[in-house]
Symmetry: D2
Subunit: 355 residues, 4 copies
Amino acid sequence: MSDLIPTPQAPAPDVLRCAYMDIVVTDLAKSREFYVDILGLVVTEEDDNAIYLRSFEEFIHHNLVLRKGPEAAVAAFAFRVRSQEDVDKAEAYYRELGCETRRGDFTKGVRNAVRVADPLGFTYEFFYEVDHVERLAWAYELQGAGALVRLDHFNQVYPDVVKGTAYLNDLGFKTTESIKDETGVTYAAWMTRKHTVHDTAMTGGTGPRMHHIAFSTHEKHNILYICDKLGALRRSDSIERGPGRHGVSNAFYLYLRDPDGHRVEIYTQDYYTGDPDNPEVVWDVHDNQRRDFWGHAVVPSWYTEASRVLDLDGNLVPLIEREEPKEIEVTIGADGFSYTRKGDTEAGFKVGGQV
Amino acid sequence: MSDLIPTPQAPAPDVLRCAYMDIVVTDLAKSREFYVDILGLVVTEEDDNAIYLRSFEEFIHHNLVLRKGPEAAVAAFAFRVRSQEDVDKAEAYYRELGCETRRGDFTKGVRNAVRVADPLGFTYEFFYEVDHVERLAWAYELQGAGALVRLDHFNQVYPDVVKGTAYLNDLGFKTTESIKDETGVTYAAWMTRKHTVHDTAMTGGTGPRMHHIAFSTHEKHNILYICDKLGALRRSDSIERGPGRHGVSNAFYLYLRDPDGHRVEIYTQDYYTGDPDNPEVVWDVHDNQRRDFWGHAVVPSWYTEASRVLDLDGNLVPLIEREEPKEIEVTIGADGFSYTRKGDTEAGFKVGGQV
Amino acid sequence: MSDLIPTPQAPAPDVLRCAYMDIVVTDLAKSREFYVDILGLVVTEEDDNAIYLRSFEEFIHHNLVLRKGPEAAVAAFAFRVRSQEDVDKAEAYYRELGCETRRGDFTKGVRNAVRVADPLGFTYEFFYEVDHVERLAWAYELQGAGALVRLDHFNQVYPDVVKGTAYLNDLGFKTTESIKDETGVTYAAWMTRKHTVHDTAMTGGTGPRMHHIAFSTHEKHNILYICDKLGALRRSDSIERGPGRHGVSNAFYLYLRDPDGHRVEIYTQDYYTGDPDNPEVVWDVHDNQRRDFWGHAVVPSWYTEASRVLDLDGNLVPLIEREEPKEIEVTIGADGFSYTRKGDTEAGFKVGGQV
Amino acid sequence: MSDLIPTPQAPAPDVLRCAYMDIVVTDLAKSREFYVDILGLVVTEEDDNAIYLRSFEEFIHHNLVLRKGPEAAVAAFAFRVRSQEDVDKAEAYYRELGCETRRGDFTKGVRNAVRVADPLGFTYEFFYEVDHVERLAWAYELQGAGALVRLDHFNQVYPDVVKGTAYLNDLGFKTTESIKDETGVTYAAWMTRKHTVHDTAMTGGTGPRMHHIAFSTHEKHNILYICDKLGALRRSDSIERGPGRHGVSNAFYLYLRDPDGHRVEIYTQDYYTGDPDNPEVVWDVHDNQRRDFWGHAVVPSWYTEASRVLDLDGNLVPLIEREEPKEIEVTIGADGFSYTRKGDTEAGFKVGGQV
């Protein structure tokens, strides 16, 4: 079914981790209020056109760039590599794939990076040289009750998850978990470099699009506080889904939507995956606890909405529809079903028309 | 609109607190698994027909009686009073109201109580004499990660909330919070004796019925653990609503359904209400954060389903429909509406057809 | 041994709860930094001479008055009573005891109070009329990670604990816990009005002095955060003892010292004590887990240091030495001993010269 | 000063992480009670002579082996490597160093490992082949309130920290933090492979000895619960130090002593260190917040006591005294000093004779 991307002869760069996302927002003041005043990310630097933000435990210049623009979109998914040689390796790797590549300083604080229009249509950046800034891990006087301490992962929407996953595996990402059905269709997959469950994931759907960017807190109560604060500010309509416990990843989660609709996950406590033989966990798409371990329904917008992505020239990348079955359709509604206990015929509160 | 219960001349008994609920379950083994094996309540005593359970910080014989019977229902809502004289006062108080009353030992561990068929159709018990048992507050070796430490409150469904509230105010319960609309309709009210937000509440709806019984944990993570455990046991379909933050009461909550459908709330962290001039908080029924401060929709079953109650002879009390507008209808769906920000016309994720 | 205070014929006032403490500080700016900038108490009102502070869930004007003065001391321990009539009752009660009493408005926000020079030498205030202010329970956007939500209790140092306790029992306070030895000496006692373990306590020692004032947080992590913040601010030398778990009260605790040396406890999660037959817990003074359930040594300053108290004219009340054995001497050092397991002769890490 | 271990020409093995410790205990039943009944580690396998334990998120056979023997000691510190080839590399690496090496299956579940008598006198094991077992990350029904989810690190005592650190750096461990003084003396250093602050650390002192083995919990309240449980079981004398916040590592910690005196740390929430240019944090030995960010004194036993280690034949490795200044002596007591604020002459509660 899948028409896979060929594996280059050139060696893949040694990717350390997802490092920052470069996103376009339409109203910088509104976005600043959301990410700085409400979520409490640290401003490393800002000017009239962009704001550079980082999490409290970060020592590189930024984890998120908010860039003013006419239309909300994602300019780049940036990964840090082990050395400047790995930036060169990345460039060669993508050139062999026939992808357009550009070298340069695309944001403040980062130098000699390469950006590539990858075979799936996403703009990836690989960089090593970056300004170090103060790691505010010990600066508790600055940390609010919902302190975001790390960038954890990206999540990308793409029609063909098998194809996307194989491409990322070639690039050195190890698959840790996936959602499949009994016929072999893959609905989503999670892939890692940095010893957590993922640095990025492929979610099946119309794409290429950006599903979400995720920041970590230390504990679950930090996430609950963010909800409380949004309620207190009468911004609870920013909460799209959760908080809850994921089946996949075993992490505790919350999904928010920023003023432009970009989705932000707040995430904590997945598990160590650094061994090469780390066992992959495969979830049945009909298992009602796969995406919410407590069995709560996933809201439709979470399945259907996502941010458009830009090419190297800043133009919207055209969308491709998913041909395979869609998770939302096979799990809920007239044609779908989910179970709490496999083989159980009893419906319970969680299946059927209640929500 | 309301045809109020007359205020007796007899003095009201000095009610200390809601103390235990006496419920009928259809399968004692299944109920034991739910309340003891899963929720971890402490068994004070049990036989073939009944199980007496208490929370970890309780020093009286029980907070919950599970009684085997042919049909799931509630036999009594029991309140502890300050002295044995207050039991007599309760008896006189209800006799003046023309209610049937009975004296006796209705459960193990409790003596010389009075049970009354109250003017709303609920069976209330008032007692003072009770066996003391070990307070297991310090017994951390027995407490699981989701330890239930106190009985917090009851919640009753009744068609006319104003009538029910006035009756309870006469009995000495102070109203702490309520949900109303701009025309003066009251949808629910919360009333207290023991310095928390409530010992019982009146929820508008077909009644008399029992909406839920609530136990407290110390912290929010204890409640999250209960969800995790239910997921691990593939019992997530017991989770009806939450976890979340209430607007009303400001407490953190979770609603479960036991094997008979009796609703159990797990609850933590409301506020002190012991001053006589404690300010009543009135919530607008259209405020989307009143029942969930994070704006999440209340599932329909939570509004419509509740447990039947029994009279003094153990027969089901007939139901009366609510004549006033129903909360579910005025807040969601074709004829209802809710807002995140009063006066805001923007819909957002939380209003409309998404869930 | 004890020469008890006579029980008045006059009825005791109906005390609701400990409500505020009026303390003298020597540098208002330094105290403001400690209580407002660091601990996050809410400023209700302030001027050049005094700052009125409250906790987030409070609806009365203040829980703490910081008053500028030449010498650090405590001007009054203030209790709220059920009605204005109870203020009159308090006045009559103390007059019968031969105590000096004064009526008036002693602080902003509180009217028609009575202050008394009590038989032990403490200045107590009883008041009902008070300005209501906004209860900030739901104002999460204002609450930091270590939010103090309630005033929980006072703690007083007095040489003769039996005498002090009997006096407070007469005033309507119920004893919940105490520390005694096998010969009958009482080292400390805890007494309540508001359904928690205490509104005030008597700690045996040179007195009358104020041992500490305690504020509550919702959860234990809030207390840990306060420690982290003090560390981050290089103010860790404000931490005198803890955090830890109390044996007495079963609460989680932390003791700080303010810039004048006034001791502040941060406290969470004791248990309900509202029933009249609430069982009193008596701890053995030699039980090493009585004051710290984890067996950690109490630092000497915690036993020996406390704040002086003022009479109605603002003069220091003379001190009386404790004649009975002192807890510090019977539990540690050459003449004292403590055990982890009663009857156990093995020393372990917690007994002996290690700390 | 230091006589460094030469750097081998042979490539170092690719170490993934600290994986298990093999310790000798004198009473298997008592140790089982401590590690299984109290701490809740999962038993993978056991017989009359050994118990194989793992943490809840582990998928390899064990993280701790308790082996019955005549004298408490440590048989091996075991690291997992990326492949079986890396086991061979390890063997060659140590042979070049002139160290004795042995190949074999030293414990159940692990095959084709190499054990080496390293240049410092510690027995290190390197292995790849291991039985996979069920990862119990999702098995919340089995996890208690203090669930240990991962093995986090080892800590070794050695006289010459510079020498030990250089040796581990050669082996591919990156230094993340250290404690030094103004004259250049190094008192301790932390080194990592797996993206956390450490897989092992060198603590200056009489050695070679094992200072502690550390397991992680998800949250801080899990650690507090372990203290509460030990209190409830009247085992609080197992608590040697903490709970508290480390300065070094920024983690939350607790130190326990097992029935043989082996030290176990419970640990949570340090930070990501996976980038090659991760900034090393150097702490001043006189900074009173370096080992406890809240400024609490380190108990003397923590500095002076540690477990003996065994050579490949199971004999105790002779001890070497530390020649450089000792941390305990330069920080407390007659000749030492610590500060809360550098340059501050004021003592405060934390310096001086109080504890």
